[in-house]
Symmetry: C2
Subunit: 253 residues, 2 copies
DNA sequence: CCGTAGCGTTCACAAAGGTTTGCGCACGAT
DNA sequence: ATCGTGCGCAAACCTTTGTGAACGCTACGG
């Protein structure tokens, strides 16, 4: 079962290619490593927006790579409030940490219609036994996730809402660009203001105010699920964005 | 150079023992693995409260394990505001992620007088080549860090200040207990309210109000740098604390 | 014995963000 | 055509948190 899947409309890059491209942004991959990745990919599955890819409490036997669409790690509290702790775009491992954590402490939810490929934990274990360098790159992938989390904490704790949102936009732009999903300074932005509120830890109403502020400052435009960055340098300054934590530069690892 | 160090007042557990204890809370260790850890530890160094163990932008050639005292990962913004993204206690790797990230995107600061042991990145690399299972446990250690981050994000985004503080107290208690640093429901708590403010993303004044609230609810007492949890069950309920993310249970990994 | 520094505490007021509610538009289902 | 429904938008009002300033306690050095 290599590339079967629920549907396969020719256009998006092949499953393992996307992942290899991501890992290669950290360090180069050898032929055997690419071969190993290729062998581990297990076929695609589609989800509608709002569906759980993985649910809190699950002990999944595989991890998932996003092929198309956006997803988020989300935690729902007793009062029904939801916090999205990170947003994922194509090429991202949404739950690689499930490999060693075993029990999911949060859910992964589709934020738009999306499609994933699976890699079984058995195969990941095999990689960790046989391919130390590839293992380090997978480990690094989870470390970058943690860096993204840390940045989110800084944004929530010490930036005003507009700065925090601007920072998120900068980060998503850089990440989308790394997988060729931005054209110029514009990209598809499939999140509603309510979803954005859950990601930023704000109320939907305040997200609306905050977007308006960025618009009035001529930093962005956002219409019909398309986001355009009008002045990258100003946006970076305004949000104090520093992309170091994304580690998007090749180095021997 | 096994246990030399700047000072060594007999009492705290030996360097590698502390680390082994931590990793063993995830899965059991073999004799060769313990031996490998023992070989990697490189001697201790002491820091005064407020000093940087590692600074933003550094490319350290080693990672540090806390032996004594508390430390925090911290990021300082342009306006001087500081956010502490995580708090570390003895037994914690404060910058294991530096091994693969290379360039530090934040500082690590001593929150109380503290002492560390070093493990060179060369030796970590050697471990990652020769000891796959031990490598997985180190990886897991960073995954738990990320889980702690995610929990912090939920606390900041969707809990009121008192809930967030209560949650942090629950987490610290569980972590301290895992390394035998809690006696009953009391433990030494070396953080000033100002430091706590930087960790919670609040102002020092509001931290004071928040502590008062927990006191008035008879959940905790905090005096002379000693914190006592007066009613664990009520504190857990109040903060919606769920320790799953700490992964403090042995499983084959 | 005094001065000082660090820290916790409190108060009054300001700012940021949440809540409630309502309107209008686009779009799909019937 | 029309009726929901989801979403963006906005206003009024309320709650939480931040700010600036003062005061007191305690430890410590001169």
């Amino acid at each position: 079962m290599s590339a079967s899947g629920v549907d396969a409309p020719a256009s998006p890059p092949a499953l393992h290619v996307l992942l290899a491209r991501k890992l290669r942004s950290y360090d180069s991959l050898s032929e055997p490593e690419i071969g190993a990745l290729q062998q581990t990919i297990e076929g695609a599955k589609s989800f509608a927006a709002g569906q759980d890819l993985v649910s809190e409490g699950d002990r999944p036997g595989y991890s998932s790579v996003l092929i198309e669409g956006w997803a988020g790690r989300s935690k729902t509290l007793a009062n029904g409030a939801r916090q999205i702790t990170s947003i994922h775009i194509p090429g991202d491992f949404v739950d690689l940490h499930g490999f060693l954590l075993h029990k999911m402490d949060h859910s992964v939810v589709a934020l738009s219609p999306c499609r994933i490929a699976k890699i079984s934990h058995e195969k990941l274990r095999w990689i960790s036994e046989e391919f130390p360098h590839l293992t380090r790159l997978l480990w690094l992938n989870t470390l970058v996730d943690a860096g993204i989390h840390r940045n989110e904490i800084v944004g929530m704790g010490r930036l005003p809402a507009a700065g925090h949102l601007a920072q998120l936009i900068c980060e998503l732009y850089e990440r989308l660009r790394a997988v060729d999903l931005a054209s110029g300074y514009a990209f598809e932005f499939p999140l509603s203001q309510a979803v954005l509120a859950d990601a930023l830890g704000l109320s939907p109403v305040h997200v609306n105010r905050t977007i308006r502020e960025l618009r009035e400052r001529n930093l962005i435009s956002l219409r019909a699920r398309t986001l355009k960055i009008l002045d990258w340098d100003k946006l970076v300054t305004f949000s104090q964005f520093d992309p170091t934590y994304l580690s998007q530069f090749q180095e021997p690892r």
